[in-house]
Symmetry: C2
Subunit: 273 residues, 2 copies
């Protein structure tokens, strides 16, 4: 079996190295890729195709892990040349997945989403949906950890985005309630009383959410914009709009701690201690 | 020691009965009270004062547990006649507590909040703040469960309201994410994946939050209005405004399930099974 990769960042390179160790022939193309990607690909010892057209010709399975903005373009580049299994692992909304997969209309297509940090390696939990998700899940025999979550394209991406809407919303709630609590000198007590209803690890998780929301505020704001677009197709996403607005406050008002810290950042500074 | 009660609903009557069993002399006044309160007071065997003026004369401690709308009025009725310990147990915002306690300027005042269901009896967790909170906490020797949370009036009420902002916000996030998940047939999976980050009891708590938010939607909406007023003094409460808006949707659009159920109510119906 030959597996082709489009996108050779963290996700692509981690999976490619793991498959190679399992004896699978692994390919990518560096056509138009960034210097960093080229370096990563060459150092990993993966086979390099001169063009995506040739990558499509040689691969049985193509795994795509590019930035959200490149997802549709990647599918377009492969186009109708590919008749194997095309798996979209990108961090994009269900409708963007559908847009992308329509471009590879001759392939068997799978919507997939990585549900945890790729640092876990090939064993990272992955969800997959679509009529051909079962074909993708056969890679579990090589050490992947794929769960089939439905037979419709979009369900896997939806699952990831909905989890994201919830967890980022919780982070925003923590900022809103704890920043006032901090001003009133009851933040430790609010955490203590919430732990009684929310579970024993609540405080630890809450502190890490506050710290990570500040440290990765810009990326989360971008992700929230994508989540908001998705939810807007189904309802008026009141909470996610507020979450996005609050993350924008964190990103802009705080100025990454270079400016005078506002109350959200005072909270961050206390929690970071 | 003589304890006077203003307000003789669930909270007042439960505490009064418990104190009586401990051998404390317990008083209330039925001046201008509702028929239900009069009935409760008479059946509990508490001593009845003809007026609040006499209640103030005879009591060492006055515990006040009335509806939010009556809290300031109750303090006004007692006025400057009382020089004992006046404990505000009402479910009101810090600034309303301060408004109320200014009316009893000769008394030693305490801000207190009941943190769980009064069905637990006298042992229900209570938080208290203010310079005289320690005096109130002496009632722990009789079986109360009072924690002192600060020396400022407003801190105890703030603690309760901030917990409320967080937990009701979480309920709103559950409605927003799970109603779309339900439409996409991935609601069970969203709950499953969230349980991995949010803790083992997550699903059970989430289901009970959805059910109770619908069943007690009107009361929660009123509570959220009070919480929103409080937070607005400190920040732009983006999340709590969205939470209130979402609860208003639940209350109005759903029409308590008499009308055609919307997606929030479809979710409720599934979770209630």
């Amino acid at each position: 079996m030959k597996i082709g990769f489009i996108g050779f960042g963290e996700v692509g390179s981690t999976l490619a190295r793991s498959f190679k160790l399992e004896g699978v022939k692994v390919y990518t193309s560096l056509e138009g890729r960034s210097r960093r990607t080229i370096k990563l690909a060459k150092s990993s010892g993966v086979n390099i195709c001169p063009s995506f057209r040739q990558l499509a010709d040689i691969s049985d399975i193509i795994l795509v892990a590019v930035t959200p903005a490149q997802a549709v373009k990647a599918a377009k580049v492969i186009g109708k040349n590919f008749k194997g299994l095309y798996v979209d692992l990108n961090n994009i909304s269900p409708s963007t997945v559908r847009d992308a997969l329509q471009k590879v209309s001759e392939a068997k297509t799978v919507d997939a989403a990585i549900m945890s940090s790729i640092n876990k390696g090939m064993n990272v939990p992955v969800v997959a949906s679509g009529k051909h998700a079962r074909d993708f899940a056969e890679l579990n025999s090589l050490g992947m950890n794929i769960e089939i979550v439905g037979d419709k394209i979009g369900q896997a991406s939806a699952l990831k985005m909905l989890r994201s809407a919830y967890t980022k919303g919780v982070s925003a709630l923590l900022f809103e309630s704890l920043s006032v609590a901090y001003q009133m000198e009851v933040d430790d007590l609010v955490l203590k009383y919430l732990a009684e209803t929310e579970g024993p690890n609540f405080k630890e998780i809450a502190v890490s959410r506050i710290i990570n929301s500040i440290l990765h505020g810009e990326r989360r704001t971008q992700e929230l914009e994508e989540v908001l677009n998705f939810l807007s197709e189904y309802e008026d996403p009141l909470m996610t709009q507020a979450t996005l607005d609050l993350f924008r406050l964190i990103v802009n008002q705080g100025g990454h701690l270079k400016k005078k810290p506002n109350n959200y950042h005072k909270l961050f500074l206390k929690m970071s201690r």
